[in-house]
Symmetry: C2
Subunit: 336 residues, 2 copies
DNA sequence: CTGAAAGCGCTTACAG
DNA sequence: CTGAAAGCGCTTACAG
């Protein structure tokens, strides 16, 4: 690279001012058509690169949106992220992704970085234990926040998520309708709103059907494929064995089904299994997995749209927007 | 927010200059211990937020590293990304993630954004069809590039990837050792170096064993779980059916095994299957999947380290660093 | 050990 | 329709 090309390089080459060049490159109608074309051509041939830091320093808009979730590898977030990406792409916002792995320190480091870079907004699925002031900090520094999948009490902003208790009630009620009465629930933690809501749905469905809740059939914890697989050992050690399992998520359910198969039990035949999320794999798994589609892409789309509205001046509102989930019945509950 | 706190706000409050405050906050030994402490305390209580755009404009270092791969949802990249994240975290670099979905336009938009933001470096798995000049453009504008998983001829930079032809040779040779002679290969495309190399390994292993390569048993294309599942249909229509399948990746293999099971065929018993990548799921799948561990975390770690070396002045070198893969024998090839 | 001043590369009123 | 000038918030020689 010879010499860095900047606005003034172009201005000098053309005998114009940097003001005119700046306006022309951003298609201002103030600049004469012919001037604009000469400028754009010169920018092109000289290999000019727009310096966003300089512009952003001046305008205090950066065109950056931060997105932070516990783990982007989780297909559940994958679909949400794709929807967000779509929505933001259309508004020419750059989006910066980050995992917090449910570590508050990682999440804080990320929010800090976004603040320092002057990001325009933040979409996040708050890490376990996120206190409301963490979100106020961002908001008070002109960084509007929208929450997804989980919410934080007193955060003062909008969160978008599936109606988890209703969704889990759908799954468990489906099992009951199928004739199952001995229904366990595997996975999830009451440290997250998602975990609490899904467990609530499980209990409500049982209560509605007049089935007693058995604490020993509630196996909390697993939230990944691997831990779902591992949970089978504990399940098989139960003194009285359930004949159906409502899993916290599809990943847990898929891992759990692998684990059952490993022990010679046929998921969907010997033990009914339901998942939650309706990830792509659910439909092709063997057996295919009965699950709850919780509208991830709607969550992502609406969260992004809400954030964009905030950027355009809409006020912050604390509310929880629930997307209504739907059950997908497949082979894994065909048993009885 | 009352008023934005900046260096000068702190300087005024303390009766110091911005120069001193700037130095103190960055722990310069030039500033007296006691002064530094007063400054840091004032920064803390006033809620000062460091403006990286301004600093970066001045220093032309941004602390940002861009990372771009075809799809972060692919567990293959997931492990690489985790290794990169680890390495970069230790050097306090912010990393910005992006999918290009093998679309050149998306990749270009990302590289452009990184250039505009003054990113310090770029790690990417080049999209199909990436021409060398795309990489030269970045390099010529002070944006050092390191490639992962795939390479581009004439790019002038280092790429890190598994030794794909060797790895696939391991898988196919293993099948041959097990007694299989009718071995198909499913998935991958010759549009990527990865696809070409793995196919080469497949052919070489057959040749070594004196087994003729049959074009109709080479079913290219699938690179995802879903397309692996779909490939079973074509496989079952083959006039002569192979008894073993070497898949392009674990995802393809897992989808393919689901597909076989759906058709009443037992993977690992009726049809042997191998994968590639040794993703987490391979070990717990049912049957567990024989696969090739291609050292993703080493790829990620070394690619990040190489890029950091470039940031510290190391020159660009065109080379392909191959990480030696290892075979993991599991149930899916236990058949005969 | 601390300060005054210039400058990074833009954009934005304001003039003309 | 175009230009001169100020300023965004830092850092970096340079002085003292």
């Amino acid at each position: 690279m010879a010499q860095k090309v900047k606005l003034s390089t172009i201005a000098e080459a053309l005998g114009l001012s940097t003001a005119t060049v700046s306006l022309a490159l951003r298609d201002s109608p103030l600049v004469a058509e012919s001037t604009r074309e000469r400028i754009k051509e010169e920018a092109r041939v000289s290999g000019y690169i727009y310096n966003r830091r300089a512009a952003s320093l001046r305008t205090s808009k950066s065109g950056i949106i931060g997105v932070c979730v516990s783990d982007i590898m989780n297909p559940f977030f994958g679909e949400i992220l794709k929807a967000i990406e779509n929505e933001l792409d259309r508004h020419r916002q750059t989006f910066v992704l980050c995992n917090h792995y449910d570590q508050l320190s990682k999440q804080r480091a990320f929010v800090d970085t976004m603040l320092q870079l002057g990001a325009d907004g933040l979409i996040m699925s708050p890490a376990i234990g996120t206190p409301a002031p963490d979100i106020h900090l961002a908001e008070q520094n002109d960084l509007p926040v929208t929450l997804i999948a989980r919410t934080v009490e007193g955060c003062g902003v909008t969160s978008f998520s599936g109606d988890d208790s209703y969704g889990m009630r759908l799954a468990v009620t489906h099992l009951i309708d199928k004739g199952y009465r001995r229904i366990a629930m595997v996975g999830g933690t009451d440290l997250t709103s998602t975990g609490r809501e899904r467990e609530r749905g499980y209990r409500e469905a049982l209560a509605e059907a007049g089935i007693e809740y058995r604490p020993d059939w509630r196996l909390p914890g697993p939230r990944s494929r691997h831990s779902g697989f591992d949970a089978v050992a504990g399940f098989l050690r139960l003194p009285e064995r359930p004949d159906a399992v409502a899993c916290f998520s599809d990943l847990v359910a898929l891992g759990f089904m692998y684990g059952l198969a490993r022990e010679g039990l046929r998921p969907g035949v010997d033990i009914a299994v339901t998942g939650y999320d309706d990830i792509d794999e659910a439909a092709i798994a063997m057996p295919s997995l009965t699950t709850v589609a919780n509208g991830q892409s709607e969550v992502g789309r609406r969260a992004a749209a809400a954030l964009l509205a905030r950027l355009n001046g809409a006020p912050a509102v604390e509310s929880v927007e629930l997307i209504t989930p739907q059950i997908k019945v497949r082979q894994s509950t065909e048993g009885l």
